[in-house]
Subunit: 292 residues, 2 copies
């Protein structure tokens, strides 16, 4: 296992990683760094980290693992700030929701050290943020996708796989581009659509009345619209190409649905709804429910 982990980002994702790993490896030293010093202090209070680094370079000085749990847009400058201070044997991995942009930044900033960067993405989250939202169980039974690079040694990939397995996760690997297409469809697109629905209601006549009468369907459909605007702005821009392709397909599908309604084509509507209803009823989520 790793002796010292430099944890960049001490909130929900990074903090849960630290807490999950401590269950199996209580002796691992967690050195935290966060652009929000109050968050880092709170993480220290909660026992999520063992110490707060004064700056990014200090955070990595003794680290044999560097874990990046920061918004993806901050990855380039962060890597630029630590590359010269990394130990020769340090592995680097991340938890970013998009992989194409992170890998491009890593290639640009890490140079030959790219061989020690194994990109990752845990499929887990909550709508609450910060160290207080961190849970040791967040990754139990959840999928973690690694998108290993051609430059990675099998040994480096295996160590990051074992790291996530020790956090309770199911580890899957796939190419970077496939990751970004899959996540655009099942995660990034629904976030855009949920934000858009709430914005439409807020800006409409009768907004207060509508929100007062909205029921359980609205509640669940829009739960993800409470997510971090900054994070999702970054995700939308970072995964632009795949997300635009999904959005175009979706706009076309909804235009067809609109035509079916306008034309009173009940058969087409029921066929579409039935297909979706069967698939959704058969679907089972992985892992425990920690969304609340």
């Amino acid at each position: 296992m790793f002796h010292t982990i430099a944890l960049f980002g001490t909130g929900l994702i990074g903090g849960s990683f630290a807490l999950a790993l401590r269950r199996r490896h209580p002796a691992t030293r967690m050195v935290g760094f966060d652009r929000d010093l109050d968050a880092a202090r709170r993480a220290l209070e909660l026992g999520v980290i063992d110490t707060i680094a004064a700056d990014a370079a200090e955070a990595v000085r003794d680290a044999d693992l560097v874990f990046l749990a920061v918004p993806v847009a901050q990855v380039p400058s962060l890597l630029g700030g630590i590359v010269d201070g990394l130990r020769d044997d340090a592995l680097i991995t991340d938890a970013g929701s998009t992989k194409g942009d992170v890998v491009a930044a890593a290639r640009a900033k890490l140079g030959p050290r790219i061989e020690r960067f194994v990109p990752g993405h845990p499929i887990a989250g909550r709508e609450v943020h910060g160290p207080d939202a961190a849970l040791a169980t967040l990754y139990d039974g959840r999928a973690v996708i690694l998108t290993p690079l051609a430059e990675n040694a099998p040994q480096a990939i295996a160590r990051v796989q074992a790291l996530w397995a020790d956090c309770g996760a199911r580890v899957t690997t796939m190419p970077v581009a496939q990751h970004d297409r899959v996540l655009a469809a099942v995660s990034h697109l629904p976030h855009m659509l949920s934000y858009a629905l709430v914005a439409q209601i807020v800006d409409s006549a009768d907004a207060a009345l509508k929100l007062g009468l909205a029921g359980a369907g609205f509640r669940d459909f829009t739960r993800i619209a409470a997510s971090s605007p900054e994070m999702w702005r970054d995700v939308a821009l970072a995964n632009r190409e795949a997300l635009l392709a999904e959005l175009d397909d979706y706009i076309a599908l909804v235009a067809g649905l609109r035509a079916s309604i306008a034309g009173s084509d009940g058969e087409a509507l029921e066929a579409l709804f039935d297909k979706a209803s069967r698939a959704r009823s058969a679907w089972k989520p992985a892992g425990p429910d920690v969304s609340a």
Copy 2:
């Protein structure tokens, strides 16, 4: 209170109504009728109803209240089948998700008896159906919207209001057209969008992989895509005009979002997400959580 209630539809909505009312009025006789005889038999076994009527005319013979909890597309033929058998003092109300079409059907079928029809819509539901899904607590703290007609006597409206208050609900009144606009925005549109997202994923490359990696965001966004295709076909057609207006606004909004992503306009994206996130974080659902 009412002595005998003719309950058309013995599933989730009608059955929960009967169970909720029995808490306050155990002596009220519930005469059930359902196009699905197995459902009616199960409702009888569960004590939701006291007896099964042989046909619609028999169901209303002794009823001083007629409660319609059937898909809205079935309301016209149902009213046509009972109008001649109604007691002179019988009140009629319904639980349909759309009101313009139900009121038009009632005007066409009930003639002068329209004065005794007080349209209603409880904002409550679950993704499970049938008498076994019925809950005495389904309407506790939930909104019920009545859309009284100009022909209704104040006394008739008051009795239907009291009926729902006895079921634990908060009763609101508004005009028919406003109801249909509000529900199109907060309920009917999200159902269309949720069905469409699942259909898009099911029909895409990597569908199985995508569904296997979908997380909590997908789970909640698509919970309503497991809803009854027949019911939602009927709702989409019954509330066509209001739903088309909402769909057009939504398509325009998503096209704008797409343009912001294509143009890398992070500021516009963050402003939209921030508006939605603040509104959704401030929103509180009414009533207990019975969706699971």
